[in-house]
Amino acid sequence: AQSVTQPDIHITVSEGASLELRCNYSYGATPYLFWYVQSPGQGLQLLLKYFSGDTLVQGIKGFEAEFKRSQSSFNLRKPSVHWSDAAEYFCAVNNDYKLSFGAGTTVTVRA
């Protein structure tokens, strides 16, 4: 079965600095990959998705992600974080209509 791994449990970044969150997937063919964000006490909001085609995907809130087949990765990036980006971030792969989530990365933004 397909799965994703998020190696970083917690990342602290200064406001205005760049952010990169790592996600590695395991699957032979091209996976359907997603990044979701969960703000405290909220549900999950879709940031972006990758199915095929252009390997650099643009999402909402200034986020982008790059699919790299050679590294089995789908890392999420933002050039300049805002305090409101403090949240839990989940990478997910669609596994026969079931989303399999990574363990999540908590992002803390310091002033």
Binding site: Q42, L46, N94, F101, A103
Partner: protein, 114 residues
């Protein structure tokens, strides 16, 4: 204009009780899901319904019984609640036209068992 709405948002109850969580979506999707998020924030699928038919059942205790009266609603009934049932339960929906369809989530129901 809420897309996926769950009620209640918070549920505090005693061990052994029976409770229900309701979910409704107004996105016109044909597939709905229940996920459980544990205290370590790990998310795992429990059930999925497509056009009122159960299509995914992920080794969930039979104390949990989903019900889909129509494709816009998926409710979750839990019998004989146990301490381990304490979690946040998320409802989601999507089109079942392909694995590339994103799922849209509700805000969750935080269930606390005393």
């Amino acid at each position: 204009d809420t897309a996926v709405s769950q009620t209640p948002k918070y549920l505090v109850t005693q061990m052994g009780n029976d409770k229900s969580i309701k979910c409704e979506q107004n996105l016109g999707h044909d597939t709905m899901y229940w996920y459980k998020q544990d205290s370590k924030k790990f998310l795992k699928i429990m059930f999925s319904y497509n056009n009122k038919e159960l299509i995914i059942n992920e080794t969930v205790p039979n104390r949990f019984s989903p019900k889909s009266p129509d494709k816009a609603h998926l409710n979750l009934h839990i019998n004989s609640l146990e301490l381990g049932d304490s979690a946040v339960y998320f409802c989601a929906s999507s089109h079942r036209t392909g694995s590339n369809q994103p799922q849209h989530f509700g805000d969750g129901t935080r269930l606390s068992i005393l």
